[in-house]
Symmetry: C2
Subunit: 206 residues, 2 copies
């Protein structure tokens, strides 16, 4: 959305040789991608909305697909860092603590981007890898931490399939957004936790 402007001090010295605007352009590219899908997106749309020239984009990225690939790959850093994760002392507490408007909006944007590139994923290994790394893995990583913590403190059995559990939440959300076209609200996410994920690890909901 490009609203995350550079709070970084940008002294007016020097040239903008340093590709300063790259992140901004990539962010615009993600927006257009999410709105129109890969094939619906044109390089000119991105250029115009980023107030840049089409030539500028081609100076930086050799092709449209490279631009998109870079944009997707650069989503990777945007996630909450590990230190700022909730640690409530219970698995349910941790999972519920992740249900926050910003987190939900982040998910939905990622899923719209995902929707825009799914058809490419099947035929472009690079894109598949980028999507995996930037969209799937970060979400799983967070859950993985929660489940491992729960195992360590003896809250859940140690023989559960953590990798599988990590995917349940994301899978239910992706299905609902991409295929069912229904909204992801707090109630839905809570029921995922209480009716599906917790039972799967042998816990009863509150």
């Amino acid at each position: 959305m490009a609203q995350i402007e550079h709070a970084t001090v940008k002294p007016r010295l020097g040239r903008k040789r340093d590709h300063t605007r790259d992140p901004e352009i990539l962010d615009v590219a993600l927006d257009v991608l999410a709105e129109t899908g890969y094939d619906g997106m044109t390089v000119e749309m991105v250029a115009t909305r980023a107030k840049a020239g089409k030539a500028t984009l081609y100076r930086r990225w050799p092709s449209k697909s490279d631009l998109v690939l870079d944009a997707v790959a650069c989503m990777k850093g945007r996630d909450l860092d590990v230190d700022s994760l909730p640690d409530t002392g219970t698995l349910r507490g941790d999972l519920v603590a992740m249900i926050k408007p910003p987190s939900i909006r982040d998910s939905e944007r990622k899923l719209k981007v995902m929707a825009g590139i799914v058809s490419m994923i099947a035929r472009n290994p690079e894109m598949a890898a980028a999507a995996q790394e930037a969209l799937v893995e970060p979400r799983a990583a967070v859950n993985r931490i929660f489940f491992r913590r729960a195992i360590d403190r003896g809250e859940i059995p140690s023989d559960v399939d953590v990798e599988k559990l990590c995917m349940i939440g994301p899978a239910l959300v992706a299905y609902r957004v991409l295929l069912l076209r229904k909204p992801v609200d707090r109630e839905f996410l809570l029921s995922n936790i209480d009716e599906v994920i917790l039972p799967a690890v042998g816990l009863r909901a509150a």
Copy 2:
């Protein structure tokens, strides 16, 4: 559409006015769609592979999107009919009985088709409706029957959220195929049943 053509009296003149080849063409369209995605697919590809002329397709469908829409909508009938569903006497038995190579292949094809149109679904309500009706709903319907049976025979509580349960399996499969790009095998499907679905209804796996 297409196959429920006019049984109306019109045996006059010409050749097969009955659009006999429509189902064949639509089936080819689905194959191409699954292989290349909506935007990668060209009407000529479909025509050539169906050994038909491009003009023939345009005589029958006004545009490419109409062709695809019809093709997707016509997948609806392809599912196993209700009478031939397994009825093993237990929920787990019924769910496991659905794990068969033909059923798996059917699912994977549907999901590839789905992958080819996801980006359109977000912006084309007709396509969204067709996909919902032909790809999502039939699968859910089968599960719905199994869960209702289980409730009727008192195997599982009657207050479970059937609609939500119906989606768990499809969601896990879709996520694995479309986003993780991993194969859907018997082991995966069994673990879905035993580690996720059955726990969610309060049952322990075998």
